[in-house]
Symmetry: C2
């Protein structure tokens, strides 16, 4: 493997000149630069990563801690992992994957051995054990998600509370007075996963503020569960006419199918909004209004901020919430004033 030594020799210059030519940290004569570039190309030179880390005290590696839980929804999880990796590469960083038990234990390993310059934290719980670990290690990190106590942390995420409020507001604005929430499976809330809880909190505040009737269900991804979830909503909300979905794609589809099967017209009888959805609702029947959760967006921003802090050393804590965008696809319509019971009406 060619070393910087070989390049220097081939170009007839010193090692340091090669280094400066490649890093661009000092000006280099045009001719010298040409000869160096030629030598690099010919030898296929690539700086040794270990040497570079040692001398430069920078690794150009980001650790990505992404634990996998029993109830993790793989497609979404994968999308975030990919998004972080892509964003890192765009800034010339590689990504080291920390999973399972190592998602926590590995943090110490990679940071205190200076294997990674920073850590991207995915799948954040409200009281995440990685927070303390990271704090005590003094490691540079960014959370994609907002835990309960953000003191000293840097966090980026979609503003799920605002997203939930936005969804409720749109439904309420359309005259919907009885709004259901289809959330994630119970377990997620139980273990403190941050975004379902934040969404639910926003939902609770919004229905309160708007003074609308409401009910929540948390179905698993099975046909039976989604079926009974719809039944529960109908039972608990006599005037059920609005629905906010904050669940994964298969559940969303199943809920919609169940409404259809019951002869409930969407959006006439029940208007529906998908909130914080990491999937497209364009090919749903009908297509749903949606407040999208775009993995690329959060992850891009998170990596950007992390890399900036690595390279320019500006620390400081912050919580950056990404404002929700509302995409209209026609699944929310004004409620016909005359209708006494929308569901009954729809059954005709």
């Amino acid at each position: 493997m060619a070393s910087i030594h070989d390049v220097a020799k081939a170009a007839g210059v010193s090692i340091s000149t090669v280094s400066y030519a490649l890093s661009g940290k000092r000006s280099i004569g045009a001719d010298t630069r040409r000869r160096i570039d030629a030598a690099v190309a010919e030898l296929g030179y690539r700086a040794n990563a270990g040497a570079r880390m040692l001398a430069g005290s920078r690794t150009n590696i980001l650790a990505l801690t992404a634990p996998l839980h029993e109830d993790t929804y793989h497609p979404a999880h994968m999308r975030f992992v990919m998004a972080v990796t892509k964003a890192a590469r765009a800034r010339d960083y590689d990504t080291l994957l920390l999973v399972q038990d190592d998602a926590t234990a590995g943090l110490e390993r990679v940071t205190s051995s200076a294997l990674a310059d920073g850590v991207v934290v995915l799948d954040v719980d409200m009281h995440d054990e990685r927070i303390e670990r990271l704090r005590s290690l003094g490691a540079r990190s960014v959370f994609v998600g907002i835990p309960e106590d953000t003191t000293g942390l840097r966090c980026v995420d979609l503003d799920f509370e605002a997203a939930a409020e936005l969804a409720v507001d749109r439904l309420a604005d359309a005259g919907r007075r009885s709004i259901g929430l289809v959330g994630h499976p119970e377990g997620l809330y139980g273990r403190g996963s941050n975004f379902p809880l934040r969404f639910r909190r926003g939902f609770g505040e919004a229905v309160e503020r708007r003074g609308v009737a409401h009910a929540e269900v948390y179905p698993e991804e099975t046909r039976a569960a989604t079926r009974s979830a719809v039944a529960t909503l109908i039972e608990r909300l006599p005037e059920f006419d609005g629905l906010v979905l904050n669940c994964n794609e298969p559940v969303a589809r199943a809920i919609l199918a169940e409404l259809t099967a019951r002869g409930i017209d969407v959006p006439g009888a029940v208007s529906v909004v998908a909130g914080g959805a990491n999937y497209s609702t364009r090919d749903f029947a009908p297509p749903l209004d949606v407040i999208p959760l775009i993995a690329e967006e959060s992850c891009e921003r998170a990596v950007e901020l992390l890399v900036e802090s690595i390279e320019h050393g500006d620390a400081g804590e912050f919580v950056e919430l990404i404002a929700p965008r509302y995409v209209t696809r026609g699944s929310v319509v004004a409620r016909a004033a005359s209708e006494a019971s929308p569901r009954t009406g729809a059954r005709v």
Copy 2:
């Protein structure tokens, strides 16, 4: 951050003694070892990764090239990524993720900069562009999957051909004479994804050998597609009485549901085997006989072989096929000899 220097001073020994104590490559006096261990613990010492790479010319990092295609089935993909990462950690290796366009381009970067000691190749295509790249780089690698030309490569995977044959044989042994195959979506075969093709090849050979009627369908993951897939099988196979599934879980469930919806009795009228399935069939209705594809198994072995070659330098090419295991759950039963047309019979 404490360096080996600090540890040496704290323990009152030389640097090299600390190094040998930690690596175990030379014997160390009991008392010295105790003092070193104490110093390490107290200082929270952890060897600098860059320095270790440079001096030891080993990084303890594996690159994992896992491109994501349009049609990638995320849960399965994720399972393999996780399995590789876990297996690597068990041997004290970290995993660097190479995705997207970087899945190929990144190979050169990480190997020629000596960032990784070896490469695990996932999601292998029959004519994979990474093969040539890896060959020309002379990089240590292991493929999880079997491409068309394996010259000079090391490959590990479930023996999908044998799995398909096993599935057909079991059905044929049970007297099934008209066997359908539900494969993956067309696109996968088109782009040359290796395992669906290998499974299909095995299926083709087996039905030929056993002299049974056969038909193949390749549904997408939509209700309409699975429905029409079943219709096609029935149409093409007048005596349709056996079915091999080599598709993803949602499709498998949908196919089964469709059979049920049509009043086709499983396993009586049509016996079913899931082949090369990366999901559990235990909670299917009915539970299916299965030849499982266990990500952990292939990935464990792949990493084991890769690490061994890194650490003991034994190169050499090989193709290691993991023998299929057949798990009986009762979805294959002997065909009643009297029945003329099993499907018709089942409808009663």
